[in-house]
């Protein structure tokens, strides 16, 4: 404290703002903290948080986790069949988006999608039979995240579906996702009519093999640089993937043409990709999953490695707390609705796609994508403000994902549960909105925020692990 007498006094004022004003009036320097009780006023968690702030063990663990995330190099290696390539995928197993949930608790779109997947697999002849299988517990239902996979919205992956195979070449871990079916009546929004099943079959029989041959010819495709380029072209690679989908097609098309695939099938594949502005979303998500899995499992780390929703609950996973999920009720997204729909029609937040925000893109890179803020009637400045706000709850910036509108600063990445709970600033998520009934599809898009309760639970759990290790 002796050094304090030699320095200029600089005060951080927490509480009565008049104290900061009087320091300033007396010629001193003071900064007022816009304080509110942390952890939603939960004093126990507030105290646990205080013991984790700037704790050397946590700082070191975060450095390790964040470095692993930064150094990850996700590349597209190929296309496989879920039942063959996904870790621990059982014969009669269907994966879904978000944290674990029992069949009877699932939201409409997710149940609809599972019924569709059962029909697609041919395990039942009709909807009633599929329903009986699912509700009778004869199909094992597990989160994608438990199998190194992610899926948007309902996130349903069944054993015979083709999946993207992404490898983080730095660390060797793999990640997977299903194919994007486009918009409208699609499985991921719970539709399971014959046209939906027919499209899935076409994806499995035509699109998948065509793209597999193309990717084989290409060798491998570096997804990180493609995403970085798309960020410079107005995408945030979550809710806007126009540029990334176009770049993907541009990289692949020559290889596609060099394969033995019949030209009519190549044409159909190209038409399908060109007609779907969200085609790249599943690849973006898979790349993000690969980068974050590299950071997962570092004891003591407070870095979030997954945020995911199942239409009922919102859940997060944290590097230092293993496979535990911290969940709370999923919020209903407020946003811009397609004509004829309102917030009343919306399902609560759904899908694994918040993995993009977890990895520093999506809502976190909103400054790259001013077009996105129109979903909430905002301005380009709002997009920059949203990205700036995320810098206060993250461990650092990802220099690979630069943001032109912010003087090419890296996107904020590595959500720190401590900072979220301490500041009350909630991670921002750009997302589509599903109708709460199965099969109607997307009814809007908007911006939502991860609920604080997940983060306060995580702080408490991390504090327990730190107490245990001391």
């Amino acid at each position: 404290m002796q050094t304090l007498f030699q320095e200029k006094l600089q005060v951080l004022n927490v509480g009565l703002s008049s104290f900061a004003e009087s320091v300033a009036r007396a010629g001193g320097t003071a900064l007022q903290i816009d304080w509110a009780p942390p952890a939603q006023g939960d004093q126990t968690v507030g105290r646990e948080l205080a013991q984790l702030v700037n704790l050397p063990a946590v700082e070191a663990a975060n450095q390790k986790a964040f470095d692993a995330y930064l150094s990850a190099q996700p590349v597209l290696r190929g296309i496989g069949i879920a039942g063959k390539v996904l870790p621990n995928m059982a014969e009669r197993m269907i994966l879904h988006g978000g944290p674990p949930i029992a069949w009877e608790s699932m939201c409409g779109p997710m149940q609809g999608a599972i019924i569709g997947a059962i029909l697609y697999e041919g395990w039942a002849k009709n909807t009633a039979g599929a329903w009986a299988l699912a509700s009778g517990g004869e199909v094992v239902l597990e989160p994608c995240h438990h199998h190194a996979a992610v899926g948007p919205m309902a996130g349903v992956i069944s054993p015979s579906m083709p999946v993207w195979m992404v490898v983080d070449v730095t660390h060797g871990n793999q990640a997977f996702s299903n194919f994007n079916e486009g918009i409208g009546r699609v499985l991921r929004f719970g539709a399971n009519s014959s046209d939906v099943i027919d499209r899935l079959k076409w994806i499995g029989q035509v699109l998948g093999p065509a793209l597999r041959a193309g990717v084989e010819t290409l060798g491998e495709l570096d997804l990180k640089t493609l995403m970085a380029q798309a960020l410079h072209m107005g995408d945030e690679v979550h809710n806007r993937n126009v540029a990334a989908s176009s770049l993907f097609l541009k990289r692949l098309i020559s290889s596609l043409l060099k394969t033995n695939t019949p030209s009519a099938e190549i044409a159909a594949a190209v038409d399908f990709i060109a007609g779907n502005d969200h085609f790249f979303l599943n690849l973006s998500m898979t790349a993000c999953k690969a980068m974050l899995d590299a950071a997962h499992g570092v004891p003591g780390s407070s870095m979030v490695t997954a945020m995911a929703r199942n239409g009922v609950e919102f859940g997060i996973r944290v590097s230092g707390t293993g496979d535990q999920w911290f969940t709370t009720r999923a919020p209903v997204v407020d946003g811009l609705f397609f004509p004829g729909y309102t917030k009343e029609d919306a399902a609560p937040d759904l899908g694994d796609s918040a993995i993009t925000e977890t990895a520093g893109v999506g809502g976190f890179a909103m400054a790259a994508s001013p077009a996105i803020v129109k979903f909430v009637g905002g301005t380009p400045q709002d997009a920059i403000d949203n990205t700036t706000a995320m810098t206060y709850i993250t461990l650092g910036r990802n220099g690979a994902f630069t943001l032109p509108a912010m003087n090419f600063a890296g996107a904020p990445a590595g959500i720190d549960v401590r900072k979220v709970v301490d500041t009350g600033i909630q991670p921002i998520i750009n997302t589509g909105i599903a109708h709460r009934e199965a099969g109607i599809g997307q009814i809007g898009a908007g911006i939502t925020r991860a609920p604080l309760a997940c983060f306060t639970q995580a702080v408490s759990a991390l504090a327990s692990t730190m107490r245990g290790s001391q």
């Binding site: 200029k8 006094l9 951080l12 004022n13 703002s17 903290i33 205080a50 600033i425």
Partner: protein, 519 residues
């Protein structure tokens, strides 16, 4: 009579802002009672007790609750006005850090804007304060903890952590400090100089620093420790740190320590370190035996005034005994009538009240108080004085749901008039505390009431003496000279210090000759 409530979710405001809002709402047409509070379980039960809440409230500590009581037809309009008043009051932002898109929401985030920050001044509600203090310490900041109601175990843990990391925790319940010339919280603007102070009492620190300023010297550093620092279990960690850092500080030539008497083992340790400070140390352990303190280079002082006087003398190279400043002459000819025999002290500063009780007990015998020196002197009903009484109106009993008497004079003003109406009262004794955080113009609140009190007594055929002193400096926002002039005009007999004011007041009751022996 009707009631209305409104909950604003996630709308945290600090307690001072809430008090301002409550008083604004109470002035709305048709409103009898009003409150704006954070809806913690505790606050809700307080409001229910106060009769402001009828129904159950579903709200939490981060939700702002407005409760109004008044005329049925006026309430809807009043509530709308209240709500718009709340929305007009965004949390103020001040500071010289680089601008950011968002005001900092945590200490860590604040450090991003103010990289060179070296002290966190924490005044949150007590239940959150120790967590904030821990964060600040873990981030390498010294801490001034203004908040009270912090558990002793937390205080010990905080202070030990700080000590291990070469940081200091001033507080909890530290009302004032002056670091590098900058007044913090409830502090006065004193000139800089060579005298360093470490005090466990906020008003004690203010009195000593203001008198030093008044007598022409200045302050190098004034470090508050909070009232529990010299508790046996805390061990005087902050006082020892403060003492050692002032001993090592080349800008400090004299050190003053102020506290209630510490536990014997803590006192021994503090005095041992004081004796080896290498510079003179004046020690005022309020009420302690001076002979237990006296040693080479350590000078006991019996009152805050004596401590300031001794420090000024030592800074001039004189022995304290030779250097007592000129006392204001006791020249009183009060026209007391028979039956006027009691003294009533109405204090806003707790240490002043305690010092008065100590000094008066020797001269007047039993002196009742809500913060008595001896348990047998406890005033059971604090709302009614008996015999000689000195009251600390800053006591929790009086401040629950109401601003401190240094900010809000209403309660004391009512009490002054009540005492003036008592035919047995001869003299009313008052303190006036200036500085940042205090009322912007206390004399404007007090002068009319003093005049009214004296007139009231006069009308009843009595002469009421009002004695007081102003703790402040000419550099304070309220300006010491202006305040003294206004109070004197209203008929207050002015002393320079609490000890002098107490002597004056005792003179009124006893007659001039019997108080010679008082310090």
């Amino acid at each position: 009579m009707a009631r209305a409530t409104k909950i604003l979710r996630n709308f945290y405001r600090d307690s001072v802002s809430l008090m301002q809002l409550s008083s604004t709402f109470a002035k709305l047409p048709g409103v009898e009672q009003a409150s704006a509070i954070m809806a913690s379980a505790n606050n809700i039960s307080l409001l229910t007790e106060a009769g402001l809440l009828g129904e159950t409230i579903e709200a939490g500590a981060n939700d702002l609750l407005i409760a109004l009581q008044g005329d049925d037809d006026a309430l809807a309009v009043a509530m709308a006005a209240a709500e718009s008043a709340v929305n007009q009051n965004p949390p103020p932002m001040s500071g010289n850090g680089p601008s950011s898109a968002m005001a900092p929401r945590s200490i860590e985030m604040g450090l991003g804007n103010m990289v060179g920050a070296n002290l966190a001044l924490i005044s949150t509600p007590g239940e959150y304060a120790s967590a904030e203090a821990f964060k600040a310490l873990r981030l390498g900041l010294n801490v001034m903890l203004f908040s009270d109601n912090v558990e002793l175990n937390d205080e010990i843990a905080l202070k030990r952590f700080a000590q291990d990391h070469d940081l200091i925790v001033m507080g909890p319940d530290c009302g004032t400090a002056i670091i590098n010339g900058i007044p913090l919280a409830f502090a006065n603007v004193v000139r800089r100089g060579e005298i360093g102070v470490v005090a466990a009492s906020g008003t004690g620190l203010q009195q000593v620093t203001c008198l030093i300023d008044r007598w022409g010297k200045g302050i190098s550093q004034a470090i508050g420790t909070g009232g529990h620092d010299l508790h046996r279990d805390v061990g005087g960690i902050s006082m020892l740190q403060g003492l050692k850092s002032l001993a090592a500080d080349p800008s400090t030539s004299v050190i003053v320590l102020v506290s209630k008497p510490p536990s014997p083992e803590v006192a021994a340790r503090v005095l041992e370190v004081a004796g080896s400070a290498g510079k003179p140390v004046v020690v005022n352990f309020l009420g302690a035996d001076p002979e237990g303190i006296r040693r080479q280079n350590v000078f006991p002082a019996r009152t805050l005034e004596d401590a300031a006087a001794a420090a000024v003398a030592l800074a001039d190279g004189r022995r304290p005994e030779e250097g007592q400043p000129e006392r204001s002459p006791v020249a009183l000819f009060p026209r007391l009538v028979s039956g006027q025999r009691y003294l009533r002290g109405l204090y806003s500063g707790g240490t002043f009240c305690y010092e008065a009780a100590l000094l008066l007990k020797k001269e007047l015998g039993q002196v009742y108080s809500n913060t008595p020196v001896d348990p047998e002197d406890r005033l059971n009903n604090v709302w009614t004085s008996k015999g000689h009484t000195v009251i600390d109106l800053g006591d929790d009993l009086f401040t629950r749901g109401r601003p401190h008497p240094m900010i809000d004079h209403r309660l004391r003003n009512e009490r002054i008039l009540k005492e003036a109406g008592d035919p047995e009262v001869a003299v009313i004794l008052l303190d006036v505390v200036l500085g940042y955080g205090s009322h912007p113009d206390p004399a404007s609140e007090m002068a009319p009431v003093i005049e009214k009190a004296k007139a009231l007594a006069e009308k009843a055929g009595r002469h009421l003496v009002v004695v007081g002193f102003v703790c402040g400096t000419t550099l304070d926002p309220q300006n010491l000279s202006n305040q003294e002039a206004a109070l004197q005009n209203a008929g207050m007999l002015l002393a320079e210090s609490n000890a002098q004011a107490v002597r004056l007041a005792a003179t009124v009751v006893l007659g001039p000759t019997t108080v010679e022996g008082m310090p």
